[in-house]
Amino acid sequence: MTRRRPEGLTASLLIGPATLVVLLSLVLPLALLARYSLNRYDRRTFMVEAFTPENYLRFVTDPFYTGVLWTTFSIAIVTTLLCLLMGFPIAYKLARSQSRWKSIGVLLIILPLFIGSTVRALGWMGVLGRGGIVDAIYGAMGGTGISLLYTSFAVGLGILSINLPYMILTLQSVIEGIDARVEEAADSLGASPPRRFWHVVLPLALPGIATGGILVFILAMNAYATPFLLGGARFQMMAPMLYREFAVNNNWPFAAAIAFILMLTTLTLTALSSLLVQRRYRAQ
């Protein structure tokens, strides 16, 4: 064999371009945004150079903004748990299925991913809105018109239907990685199905549950179109609020501060949960 190029050089040539793109279009903008978040807003000139924490203080001291953060967080947690609850059995059935319909099933799960959140929101508007199906059925039963639109229920339903496929696909690939013989062994040793699930399948699927849960949680924390269309002006979440602060109020420093609060909350929570899972994993 001839003289080999050092591995590090080849590797850096391979990985360099991607690293450069991420550094330039993620790290640089975030650094600039961090700087802007310390500036002061001015009604006439919009932004004044400053070095003040007042944007952050305004957020934490105003119950309206902390309320929106809390709403966003609760919606994200509830939808993530429901995604897990509904996604796991579907993913399990798909992963263990031997039938020729399996690929059709997987395709049906993948398809909604391509369709985008606006389409799903549109469908829910037809179900929940005034003149929608729920309203019509309620009216036929003698009720006097209800609109479930612009409620936490509508937004939660919308986010759930969007995030469920992501959860199912993540879990399915993890469950397929679990050797079916392990379950057969538990079976033949006399474990009942629930016992087999709690003591064999669930612990083995835990990393997938964490990955899927974190993915879905982040998606829910950042949701824009669903709360925008199904929540309207009455039901506020972080992402639409940030956009409004930027586009309508032109308050870039405050929008930047909201951005950092949203990002840090999301990152802290995901880091905590993956740490928790890792520790549990080692303990076993």
Partner: protein, 280 residues
């Protein structure tokens, strides 16, 4: 039925109950995923201009009026162009990066892995706002108009497509048998040749899945794109979003039904070539 349950032993009754719970959960999940799509398709057939249930009649005429949807062709063109370019570029930088991450040992490998996947954990609206202020900053300094150009959108989308490419290709690569590449090297193939004739062909399924996901996340992105569009240039999902802000009628439903149908056919076509149920 009731007798059967009563005579059942506690353990089989428990099994019966857990089966019921599982069935209910599966049904609820499937209903949640399907209802909004079916409802959209159903609404596109309503005869009235306003969506009220039940409709006074049904018609297919909305499908003949697709072109009336504001900026329909233009925004669809922008979306396809941006998604295609972003997918191609992210494969060009993401596939080599994933090979480096899996097949090479070097300092800072773990850190780079985290960095390359990090755009997935940063909220889209945060990246969007950040890129916007950066572009404005550069515009002011260089006096080159950037906002509203395809390339800014492509760069922004590259940031969310590349992590998916890296993630899926890394997952694919770790499953591949390394000994085949080593055999090729032992038989005298130079590293570049091994890469081109052995590693890349073996990665075919992973690359197709990566391209597919890259295309999806770019095509349907709203959060990032929102900040970077200009009145002259908007993407398809945003034109639907803007329309829905003021009007909610069967026309917009028929527009998205057509989009969905095209995508479904595309997926079926790809599925014949590479089994999607195996790669995703």
């Amino acid at each position: 039925m009731a007798n059967a349950i009563q005579s059942a032993t506690p353990s089989t009754r428990g099994a019966w109950l857990s089966k019921l719970v599982v069935t209910v959960l599966i049904t609820a999940g499937v209903v949640l995923m399907i209802v909004p799509l079916l409802m959209t398709a159903y609404m596109s057939l309503f005869a009235d201009g306003v969506v009220t249930f039940p409709p006074s009649g049904y018609t297919l005429s909305w499908y003949g009026r697709l072109a009336e949807f504001p900026k329909f062709g233009q925004s669809l063109g922008t979306s396809l162009r941006v998604a295609f370019t972003a997918t191609l570029l992210s494969l060009l930088i993401g596939v080599p990066a994933s090979i480096a991450l899996v097949r090479y040992r070097f300092i800072g490998r773990g850190l780079l892995n985290v960095l390359l996947l990090s755009p997935l954990t940063v909220p889209g609206v945060v990246i969007g706002l950040g890129l916007y202020v950066l572009m404005v900053d550069i515009e002011i300094r260089s006096e080159i108009p950037l906002i509203g150009s395809d390339w800014v959108l492509v760069l922004a989308h590259l940031l969310i497509t590349t992590p998916w490419v890296v993630r899926l290709c890394v997952a694919n690569l770790v499953q591949l048998d390394r000994s085949i590449e080593e055999a090729a090297a032992n038989l005298g193939a130079p590293p570049a040749r091994v890469l081109w004739s052995v590693t890349l062909p073996m990665m075919r399924q992973g690359i197709v899945a990566a391209a597919l996901f890259a295309f999806i996340v770019s095509f349907e992105n709203i959060e990032l794109t929102l900040f970077l569009i200009s009145p002259g240039m908007i993407t398809f999902p945003i034109s639907v979003l803007q329309y829905l802000e003021y009007r909610f009628d069967p026309l917009v439903a028929s527009v998205v039904v057509v989009q969905t149908a095209v995508i479904a056919l595309l997926l079926l076509a790809i599925d014949r070539y590479v089994k999607l149920s195996k790669v995703v």
